[in-house]
Symmetry: C2
Subunit: 208 residues, 2 copies
């Protein structure tokens, strides 16, 4: 990878490149030109060349990109060359849905435990992962050096849970609650604000 | 609203303004300056003034913004001044989680039916909403003039489902599958690509 800082816009496009390259590998495609890649991924060929230029000389004039090498390199940039210890806080429908996504495991996000305060959920196993009492959350995160917590609690509990996670050394939070969490410095987060995405959709519906 | 086209970046920030204004209303705050709003929402005061300027003269020098009026106006721009007929395709964990989100109903997104191909799910009621056989999907969408479908199927079924929806007059698709759907012209979509968001999170973990 080149030394210069990669822009956020490029970073946000990398997972999409990764996904399409994975599909090309499944279809046994070994190399592809920026023009062909443009057709399937929907970015312009010059955008693609510019984006992928950030990571050093993958494309070769007249040859195109080596699909497998590019896939591996982008995976590395995204941090997919290691395992992550993950937990889910909030074992309701959404938490259970996430626990059942086998795709996450496939890419190295290993789910260790789930946590909830509901006595009817505590003790259950969801896709072979045990639901523990949320009272145990802090100690568990600290003792097991958990990397990422998927937070799927209700709005009212979200910040309190985030505080417990931060106080016990969590590194990243994947936030599904409609709250902008206040986090300790150094803890990173990505947010899925469902309702905001739905609002954007209805804006487009109105405008079309 | 002014005539000039509002940029996508502003549009994508509107749901967040809407959410924070709603919280201010709950706290009985009637007016707020761009500076105070900046502190809670995290955008700069000048960004806020610039964004909200797009919608005509809401802020008054020395007075600030009228919270309720601004909330209503942004809601209108987002298309929240009407009801939407919605359905969910795919009644697994994620579909069930979405069916249980009472927040969507509160903002006018009324859930009519769910659809699945699994005989064990067909006939169930999730949060009082019936799960129908997916074979009935096309006719149902056409006859009931459904606005938005939340698509939570597996990857393999996603495009086929999208085709059925488009052929029967769907207006918008909220896509939770890891597929970039090919849609009929005029059908709008928003995508929640979970795994891509998680990849971005691990990128940040690596970089921090």
């Amino acid at each position: 990878m080149k030394d210069n800082k990669i822009s956020m816009a490029v970073i946000r496009r990398l997972p999409k490149y990764h996904r399409y390259l994975s599909q090309l590998i499944d279809r046994d495609v070994h190399r592809i030109s920026s023009k062909e890649l443009s057709k399937i991924i929907g970015f312009s060929a010059s955008q693609i060349r510019q984006d992928l230029n950030n990571f050093g000389g993958f494309g070769q004039q007249g040859y195109g990109y080596n699909v497998e090498a590019l896939y591996q390199e982008i995976g590395k940039i995204l941090g997919l060359d290691r395992e992550y210890k993950t937990i889910i806080v909030g074992a309701g429908n959404l938490g259970q849905a996430l626990a059942n996504y086998t795709n996450f495991t496939r890419f190295g996000y290993k789910l260790y435990k789930m946590f909830d305060l509901n006595p009817r959920l505590i003790g259950l196993k969801i896709n072979d992962v045990e639901v523990l009492d949320v009272d145990l959350l802090g100690d568990y995160v600290k003792e097991n050096d958990i990397d990422i917590a998927y937070v799927c609690t209700n709005r009212a509990s979200a910040q309190n849970i985030a505080d417990i996670l931060c106080d016990n050394g969590i590194k990243g939070i994947w936030n599904f609650t409609p709250v902008d969490l206040q986090l300790k410095e150094g803890v990173v987060a990505e947010n899925i604000h469902l309702i905001e995405n739905l609002f954007t959709l209805s804006y487009f519906l109105k405008e079309k």
